[in-house]
Symmetry: C2
Subunit: 373 residues, 2 copies
């Protein structure tokens, strides 16, 4: 295997694949990239067992030659070392040559590195070809879908499926749902009506993936062989799925309410943030006191003291109501809605309440109150 490659393009490819390299792994093979020179270009593969990224640095981009002097072959090389070396090398082109005994010679006109490598057969066999039923999705839709819901998934849970985003494609709609059992977030976008599947993808993985989509307009998604696959530009990302029945039915979101609060989103978020300062440790518990006479956010801590915020830009319909909740849950939900105004609808004191953006029906957030002290 041999190639001379434009440094910036090599670094882009290495940096893209590096996102799937685990910070540490008992399996040294997974701390490596698989580099494979093929007829299409240099293929770089990385996998942490759950997420796999494969990206291609092509032979040329438009009229610009990216790779020259190439001969086919493959090698496994430590991902951290080759990425940092290439990042720090300052020549326009870098030469990579695999020598006998699985040594990769990385060089330019002033530097020569001999990197100990692993033979390529040691790498797990990872199938990344598109499954039947693949469909195109606008990256903006996919990014909104993930960013407006991922925060409400559990970080850790005795039920691992709660760490997932539940994706359901049906009747022209792709719906994402997350819940950590105390709150729920749901968002839908339109897709090709012929697509139908249900899959639970780790929320952390989906967040990492959408961070890679910047600069691409469309991605191609397919679901099959126990994986979700996403292809954009010269890169394919595969995520393993979480098994288990996703616990949420549509009935959990109430549809009739007795109380409605409409507020300026940033005023409400700021007021909640300020009173939350009095609970510097643990989950900040905050009380919303609403009546036709006015709306207040307050907190009381035995150690720190108490605080009250009067809201100005509010409209409240209903009888007097007090609701106590985790400040972070409500503020994350309001922020995810991305609206100027926020509409919160309540059934009663200890019943889950619904937070919506009055300008956007595609997303709904549900939060369960906590007991007032």
């Amino acid at each position: 295997m041999h190639l001379t490659i434009v440094k910036e393009e090599l670094l882009k490819g290495l940096s893209t694949a590096y996102r799937a390299i685990p910070s540490k792994s008992p399996n040294p093979v997974l701390t490596c990239f698989k580099l494979e020179m093929t007829g299409r270009g240099l293929e770089i593969t990385a996998s942490n067992g759950d997420t796999t990224i494969r990206t291609l640095v092509p032979l040329s981009l438009g009229n610009v030659k990216i790779i020259r002097n190439n001969s086919a072959g493959a090698i496994l090389t430590n991902a951290h070392i080759i990425t940092e070396l290439v990042r720090k090398m300052d020549s326009a082109e870098i030469d990579i040559e695999v020598l006998d005994g699985y040594v990769a010679k990385i060089s330019d006109d002033r530097s020569t590195y001999m990197l100990n490598c692993i033979e390529p057969d040691q790498y797990p066999d990872i199938e990344l070809s598109e499954a039947p039923g693949a469909f195109d999705i606008a990256t903006k839709s996919l990014t909104d879908l993930v960013k407006q819901t991922a925060f409400a998934a559990a970080i850790k849970s005795a039920r691992p499926v709660l760490t997932a985003i539940n994706l359901k494609a049906e009747g022209g709609t792709l719906t994402a749902t997350t819940t950590d059992a105390a709150r729920l977030s749901r968002k839908f976008v339109s897709i090709d009506p012929s697509v139908a599947f249900v899959a639970n993808i780790p929320a952390k993985t989906m967040s990492d993936i959408v961070n890679m989509l910047e600069g691409y307009e469309k991605a191609r998604m397919s679901y099959g062989r126990e994986k979700l696959l996403l292809r954009f530009g010269n890169t394919t990302v595969a995520s393993s799925l979480l098994s288990g029945e996703y616990p949420i039915s549509d009935k959990v979101i109430p549809t009739t309410f007795n109380f409605h609060l409409e507020a300026n989103a940033s005023e409400l978020v700021s007021a909640i943030e300020r009173v939350a300062v009095l609970n510097p440790d643990g989950a900040p518990v905050v009380k919303l006191s609403m009546s036709p006479a006015g709306v207040e956010v307050s907190t009381r801590s035995d150690q720190s003291g108490s605080g009250v915020e009067r809201l100005r830009t509010v409209q409240y319909t209903g009888q007097r109501l007090e609701i106590t909740f985790n400040a972070n849950f409500v503020n994350q939900a309001i922020s995810a809605l991305k609206g100027t105004d926020v509409l919160i609808s309540f059934v009663g004191e200890m019943r889950p309440f619904v937070i919506r953006n009055p300008q956007d029906d595609s997303v709904v957030e549900l939060v369960t109150p906590v007991r007032s002290r």
Copy 2:
């Protein structure tokens, strides 16, 4: 105690003093600010036991009234909570009133906070008045003195005095020395010839202090009562000293050499950084191989492989010489010199070598080689 104060000036004062608040302390008093309303303004004091900061928010700045409605008094209040509250409040003025039972009422036209406080007598008595022999020093000189030496102090040591910057004022020169026993850094600046003292100040504290000096041209330093005091603008900082004899005599720095290498500083630093990539764990050991025919930086790791960098912009005088050293020590030393070129002078293979900026005699760095493998 009562005052109405311009929010931005209060926040500046709180943020300045906050730098001395420990992230946690078994003594709740030290997690508090002492706020004291005096005839001069609002005095804010913070201390972690070793470093004390006292800053004054004055009654007015030029013609602008900063504090109004004030009556004297003092209180101890949780530093984190009041700083975060004031940061997040968005009115132009904030009212602070101490109520019976050591409660501070912090309010503006929409927010009211009642903070549980501690009675002011609980605060340690900290004397911060200027000692005899105080002198003015340009903040740029003091910042250079600290930033060009602090990195070579020990982080932790069985000999705590090695975590200090040794400051020696004598004959019109203030000299800073640091050493962790494997390397040494020394820098001098000119001061008032009548000043004479020797003090060991924790390097970490001195680094924190010089970070506060931005925007001030001069500071006033004094040494006495087991403390170093520094005053700039409306702020006074006191650092406790480290006891113990500082172990370095002037004789440790060699003055006659057999080998000299002059190199472009950034080229040498980059080459060392690249070969150091092959030792991702622990102290990266790098070899400099010099002869009249050329100069190379190299490394060899059983696990990762090997690398060689040929330097271009070098001038070497002397016989063939190989020196092995901790890459971080040499790169930190070269960076601290802030020169375009760097001059490294050697006595012999296992003898400490001296790194200098050929354009700046005021600073010298010394590094002990390690045994080559």
